[in-house]
């Protein structure tokens, strides 16, 4: 049983199809990169997997740890270990990071029949995770993302990932808007959280994040379909030749067929 298996997924918004037959299999311990130009459906795929209700799935199925992922609410998916690092993390005035994360972690623990953490236990856990991600303690007492810089928001996403310890993390354009230092910090955080028991799907437009988070597989998403899959070297070719290369390359379709059948 794969950790995640997406089969012939079609989805869209308000009757406009965006994803037109996605196939993807992710096993524990793997890092997958999904690359594609703007408008190719990358964020839609991330959104559909996390349960964003703006998207309507018209065909296909997604199984996650043997469960029908699409039948679960967003919170159930999170409690089952799925994590979406948002492309645009939302500001939530009036709710501190600390309160928010404790509520989230305890909702997840409760779902797994684990004892909820009290304030002291939670603080101890958070302090340990802060070392991994290198965030300042003052961040904890600030309202969620409010007034954070772009880099702080993305770092906060990875910090949440560290605390919630997901089995499958989907990073939606986590590199967008980051300068090179912030990018490195975020990537290092992700690498430290890597284990044989979890998997990461990195959704990105650019190759540069993949210098720091090295994927096992790279998939090229164009016009709602994965048109090419390969190893980490594929990202480098894309960087050099651009997405038009995939569009015009004759082998693209057969590569898709090969991947789908593998």
């Amino acid at each position: 049983m794969s950790l995640l298996e997406v089969r012939n997924l079609h989805a869209g918004v308000q009757g406009n199809p965006i994803l037109e037959g996605i196939n993807l299999r992710v096993e524990k311990g793997e890092i997958h990169a999904i690359m594609g130009p703007n408008g190719s459906g990358k964020s839609t795929l991330a959104g559909v997997l996390a349960g964003r209700d703006a998207y309507v799935v018209t065909e296909g199925e997604v199984s996650y740890q043997g469960k029908d992922l699409l039948a679960l609410s967003p919170e159930e998916r999170a409690r089952e270990g799925l994590f979406l690092a948002f492309q645009y993390p939302v500001e939530i005035p009036g709710v501190t990071n600390m309160y928010f994360l404790k509520a989230a972690l305890n909702a997840i623990r409760k779902h797994r029949n684990l004892e909820e953490l009290d304030a002291m236990e939670f603080l101890a856990l958070v302090k340990q995770k802060m070392k991994i991600i290198d965030v300042d303690q003052s961040l904890l007492n600030r309202p969620v993302n409010e007034g954070f810089s772009g880099g702080e928001k993305k770092r906060n996403e990875i910090f949440q990932m560290a605390v919630l310890d997901p089995t499958l993390a989907i990073l939606d354009e986590t590199d967008s808007g980051l300068d090179i230092d912030a990018l490195r910090i975020v990537a290092e955080g992700v690498n430290r959280l890597r284990s044989p028991e979890n998997a990461v799907v990195v959704v990105t437009h650019y190759q540069r994040l993949l210098n720091y988070i090295v994927p096992d597989f790279v998939h090229v998403l164009i016009d709602g379909k994965i048109v090419k899959s390969g190893g980490k070297e594929l990202a480098l070719v894309l960087e050099e030749k651009g997405y038009d290369w995939v569009r015009t390359e004759p082998g693209a379709v057969s590569a898709l067929a090969q991947e789908a059948g593998s």
Partner: protein, 447 residues
């Protein structure tokens, strides 16, 4: 309509005549002269109607068509100390002034040994000791008087009197607790509170309103606050009366030079509630902050009218009024800011935000800035909307259930105002009250 208005005026004129008869020798006092002015002013116009701009969105027809009997003498009405439990903020060591149907209750109040330069007790007693207080502080607002304020003056008997002399700092908050104890007949409860902070004096006053019994009552309170030069006053008002009661509260503040005043008006109860908060800068370099939070559901109507009068230069004002409305509740916010011609370097900011939890809840919001000076900074903004679904999704995507997510966001919206209350015991109580009221993504009535 006309008929009922005339009847109402006759009704209160009749009550006044009876009241006057019972006064015997006291009818020649300066206070009574004010009362006569009050009933005359009220009788001239009666209760306002929605034809009047100031009352356009709030119909007081249910008030105008009810024969309320003014409560003119003290009666403990069966209230015992154990009834006060849920209303009292802090027992030991702090000043608690309890009013039953508008009249000071010596037995239920607790006034510890007061520091030098602090007076706290009943206004009736203070007026008896110094009749000149009446003409000095209780005279009608020269800017014009609201009919409700006139009606309060007409039957002015008692209320709280708190005075802190120059330079005195009172650390513990003073609580003024007004309880309406309903009876078979609809009651008119009209406390008149007078709070005077001398130069450089500091004080926090918590004015709270509650009720016992399920009958109809109209609380028509007037609170006057004078902040001396360099003084600092926080005035927190908590309105927790039952769903059958009407509440009109007028708070009038004068700020001295370099003083600061903060008002937090928290509304959780009442059928029709109108708060008029007006502040006037009488001296330069003063700072005024008016905040409000209204949480309503069912058919509640909560109307907040504020006026900030920048009459002198170099003053700052900040306003944040928020409402959480559910069911068929209605909200009104009208924020007037006057910047007079001389009031250069004024800095005024007004914000009104409303969260509508149901399709049938409504808010009428109106900023009203009248600026006659040219070198000023004035901003205002109003937002009305539902919970941000992107925020809801963000919380859910982290494992928090949908209902909890909505409660958390609603609470966060409201607590923004609660966090501005500096009186710790009150803030904690408000936190707990909000947690009770905001549940399952809805506003629930008192439990």
């Amino acid at each position: 309509m006309t008929k009922s208005l005339i009847n109402v005026r006759e009704w209160y004129a009749g009550r006044f005549a009876r009241f006057e008869e019972g006064l015997n020798g006291a009818s020649g006092s300066p206070l009574h002269a004010l009362r006569r002015g009050g009933i005359a002013a009220f009788a001239a116009g009666g209760f306002p109607t929605t034809d009047q701009e100031e009352w356009r969105f709030t119909s007081v027809a249910p008030i105008a068509s009810t024969e309320f009997t003014p409560v003119l003498v003290y009666d403990q009405s069966g209230v015992t100390e154990s009834d006060l439990g849920e209303w009292i903020l802090a027992r030991a060591g702090s000043i608690l002034l309890v009013f039953i149907n508008g009249h000071f209750s010596r037995t239920l109040s607790s006034i510890p040994a007061l520091p030098e330069g602090v007076s706290a007790g009943s206004l009736a007693a203070a007026l008896a000791g110094d009749p000149a207080l009446a003409s000095r502080y209780l005279a009608p607002d020269p800017a014009g008087e609201d009919p409700f304020a006139s009606l309060n003056t007409a039957f002015l008997v008692d209320g709280a009197f708190v005075r802190v002399d120059a330079g005195v700092v009172l650390d513990a908050p003073v609580q003024i607790l007004s309880l309406s104890v309903s009876s078979a007949a609809p009651l008119l409860v009209q406390p008149r509170h007078l709070i005077i902070a001398g130069d450089r004096a500091r004080i926090a006053v918590v004015e709270s309103y509650g009720g016992k019994g399920r009958g109809i009552s109209l609380t028509n309170a007037v609170t006057q606050i004078i902040v001396g030069d360099g003084g600092a006053v926080e005035h927190d008002k908590l309105q927790l009366e039952n769903q059958a009661s009407y509440h009109v509260g007028t708070t009038r503040v004068t700020l001295g030079r370099e003083s600061s005043f903060t008002s937090n008006t928290i509304n959780l109860g009442g059928a029709i509630v109108r708060n008029n908060v007006s502040a006037r800068f009488a001296g330069e370099r003063a700072e005024c902050t008016l905040n409000g939070l209204s949480v309503a559901t069912g058919t509640q109507l909560v109307d907040n009218h504020t006026v900030i009068d920048h009459a002198v230069p170099h003053c700052e004002s900040h306003e944040l009024y928020k409402s959480v409305l559910d069911g068929n509740a209605r909200g009104v916010f009208n924020g007037k800011i006057f910047v007079r011609q001389d009031a250069q370097k004024t800095d005024a900011k007004q914000t009104n935000k409303t969260l509508l939890l149901s399709d049938d809840a409504t808010i009428d919001t109106k900023p009203q800035l009248e600026i006659f000076a040219d070198d000023v900074k004035c901003t205002h903004g109003a937002t009305v909307g539902q919970l941000d679904e992107e925020q809801v999704f963000y919380l859910r995507a982290r494992g928090i259930g949908e209902t909890e997510a909505r409660d958390l966001l609603t609470f966060a919206f409201a607590t923004d105002v609660i966090n501005r209350v500096h009186v710790d015991v009150l803030r904690e109580k408000l936190d707990a009250l909000l947690h009770t009221r905001l549940r399952q993504g809805r506003v629930t009535l008192e439990t």
